[in-house]
């Protein structure tokens, strides 16, 4: 764990490392001191890296067989499903992989919310994460357009039309985005280009995200600053590598069930109908991972304000480190915040549910209340809570807590007594 003094053993290694310190980097990554009390919610960073790589690899393979043309896209997807060797497998991994990616990213984000990982000194990591999340949504949306089914076409129409809400220049922007006067072949080809580009932008941002993480080091469930390296930390390899690996395998089992046994359950049946500009589907719904924001969009009666509300719902997260005024990171020591946290989780789930339902009657009412609460949580509850909440005293270190022992310490003591 002495990365500063690292020096390769071999002469060749030294020669190389003096010119390009890749070995120093590798040494830093393996020795990287990590809090030893990280729980399984912390394994989703590794899982997300796996998801990204999987999407890129399967995506490249699909791109070799896919034809980005309005007249041939749907057919080329069927060609992949039927005639390309294991094409069905690659496509189902890619399609379900998107859902798995979002499942993991939501857990990752809500972990950060619970343990206050976005707070000083980790604001940049958090903001980079929000940008990655935004790019993921763009990539997923454009990817869903590529098979050129009914939901692809009409989803693209609805989402691109949102830009027409911009005063004065809106209509012009929409025409510019489409490359014509409706969603058509030029739209498809540019979406394909961008869908291919964005994952590599995400990859670059992920490198920055991890780099930024390695400056202050990981937050941890107790949420206190720890000395690194110390008895509170373990080297990344092998401790965290094997734990992340175990969690990843568990995740892959779930992933495999979707791919092999219900590959279409997360998609919409209408997307197996070839795009038809003359026939509008009864209900146009986005993929499940975008539903909460779709609900927010539809809950506002005015188009422009709806778009503003939807964008704000995401962008508000970027300023979260400054909206949350509490100095305590972990919700474990914030009894009131913990309650509000779970209410927020329920609120987002409800938004997702009503997003899938028609925007009328009771559903619309629920969507409006839930949208209002979403903003209330970030704009009022969080800032006020920081001043009003009476927090539980926090321990001084992971191994030496002030409050009669964490599970870790209790465990260690139990082991000692057994030996005696």
């Amino acid at each position: 764990m002495s990365e500063h003094e690292f020096r390769p053993k071999s002469k060749v290694g030294q020669w190389f490392n003096d010119r390009l310190p890749l070995l120093t980097l590798a040494n830093h990554l393996t020795d990287y001191p990590t809090p030893k009390n990280l729980n399984y919610w912390w394994t989703f960073g590794g899982i997300l890296t796996f998801c990204l790589i999987t999407q890129i690899v399967t995506g490249l393979t699909l791109a070799m067989h896919y034809i980005a043309h309005a007249d041939m896209a749907f057919e080329s997807v069927e060609h992949i499903m039927r005639d390309v060797n294991y094409g069905w497998l690659i496509r189902y991994i890619h399609a379900n992989g998107a859902s798995m990616f979002f499942l993991a990213v939501y857990i990752h984000i809500f972990r950060s919310l619970f343990y206050g990982s976005y707070k000083s000194p980790r604001e940049i990591i958090w903001i980079l994460g929000i940008i990655i999340y935004l790019l993921m949504m763009a990539a997923a949306f454009m990817g869903y357009v590529l098979p050129w089914g009914q939901m692809s076409f009409w989803g693209a129409t609805v989402i691109t039309n949102l830009f027409s809400a911009i005063p004065l220049v809106g209509e012009g922007i929409v025409t510019w985005l489409w490359g014509g006067y409706s969603v058509d072949n030029p739209t498809l080809t540019r979406f394909f280009t961008l869908h291919y580009l964005i994952p590599f932008l995400i990859l670059g941002l992920v490198v920055l995200h991890i780099w930024a993480l390695h400056v202050p080091g990981n937050n941890n469930p107790v949420g206190i600053d720890i000395k690194k390296p110390s008895k509170d930390t373990v080297p990344f390899h092998p401790y965290i590598v094997i734990k992340d690996g175990f969690a990843l395998l568990m995740f892959m089992i779930v992933f495999a069930f979707f791919v092999f046994y219900s590959p279409n359950i997360l998609g919409h049946a209408d997307n197996y109908i070839e795009a038809n500009p003359m026939v509008t589907p009864a209900h146009i719904v986005p993929e499940w991972y975008l539903l909460p924001f779709y609900a927010i969009l539809r809950s506002v009666p005015d188009k422009l304000l709806g778009v503003v509300a939807m964008l704000s719902a995401i962008l508000i997260l970027a300023v979260l480190p400054w909206l949350d005024t509490s100095k305590i990171r972990s919700a474990v020591f914030r009894p009131l915040y913990k309650q509000f946290y779970w209410i927020l989780v329920a609120d987002v789930l409800i938004l997702g549910y009503v997003g899938a339902m028609p925007a009328e009657g009771l559903y619309l009412l629920i969507a409006r209340v839930a949208t209002a609460y979403y903003f209330l949580h970030f704009l009022v509850i969080l800032p006020v809570l920081g001043f009003k909440e009476k927090t539980i005293p926090i321990p001084l270190s992971i191994t030496e807590p002030v409050l009669g022992g964490t599970p870790n310490l209790a465990m260690a003591k139990k082991k000692e007594s057994k030996i005696e």
């Binding site: 030893k36 039927r82 092999f260 599970p407």
Partner: protein
């Protein structure tokens, strides 16, 4: 943990209320045992072959199946006709090919490599011949309908006389399972409309089941391979996960911490 339990209770309450409210509008499809469901689900070969017969003698008069080729009929995991049978089936259809050396288009008997011949030249011709309604292509039909196989199976048996007070236009039929209950397709099946080669009684129920099985295969030709691979993949993952779990326990036992 307390908060978490409370949260779970609230969520399950909400879900149960909501699901009851949608259940009220949901249609109950007719149920039957599908051999291709489940971890080891496979197609019933005889049913697929009968289903092809129903498709080609009844449905194919109006419905195309443009993503399938005649070679698919003899491929593994499908109806598994012999190559000779598939060739004979293909040869019974005429396709337009060309241009030849003289620049002329010509017709010839279809080969294994040809796609299923379509009943109409194009979508417009199909609409013109069917009172304005386009008989959808059947290649992925099962996946393109919310209820999947159960929906198709029910629809084929869902023709009834319209309830009193419901006015149906010329050429529109009442179907219990169709969205809006109005369908342009007249009841395609009736008892004994075809004669099965294997002697099975061609009841509407039997034909519905066979043709729906065939449509499932048409939409998912690699379903059997997927199920087989899925089982192996998951078993492999479970074993590997177990091994990694114990390795992890061993590694973490070196320090005062738990995983």
């Amino acid at each position: 943990m307390n908060a978490f339990i409370k949260f779970c209770l609230i969520i399950s309450l909400i879900i149960s209320i909501f699901s009851q409210s949608i259940a009220a509008e949901k249609v109950d499809y007719l149920k039957t045992d599908w051999s291709f469901k489940g971890l080891f689900g496979k197609f019933d070969r005889a049913s697929l072959q009968r289903g092809y017969q129903v498709y080609t003698e009844v449905c194919a008069a109006c419905h195309s199946m443009k993503y399938l080729s005649y070679r698919n009929l003899s491929e593994k995991g499908g109806p598994e006709f012999s190559v000779e049978q598939a060739k004979a089936i293909a040869a019974s259809f005429e396709v337009v090919d060309g241009p030849n050396a003289d620049g002329e288009m010509f017709t010839r008997p279809a080969k294994l490599s040809d796609k299923f011949v379509m009943p109409y030249e194009n979508e417009k011709a199909a609409q013109a011949a069917n009172g304005g309604a386009y008989p959808p292509d059947m290649s992925v039909l099962v996946k393109a309908r919310g209820g999947g196989v159960d929906y198709i199976y029910s629809l084929l048996q869902g023709y009834e006389t319209a309830p009193a007070g419901m006015i149906l236009d010329e050429g529109v039929h009442y179907n219990k399972y169709m969205y809006g209950n109005k369908i342009k397709m007249s009841a395609p099946l009736s008892d004994g409309i075809i004669e099965y080669g294997d002697g099975t009684t061609a009841s509407v129920e039997q034909m519905s089941k066979d043709v729906t099985t065939f449509l499932m295969w048409a939409a998912e030709p690699h379903l059997e391979a997927r199920h087989r691979m899925g089982f192996k993949a998951i078993i492999y993952l479970i074993i590997l996960t177990t091994l990694v779990y114990f390795s992890m326990k061993k590694i973490w036992s070196r320090i005062e911490s738990e995983v």
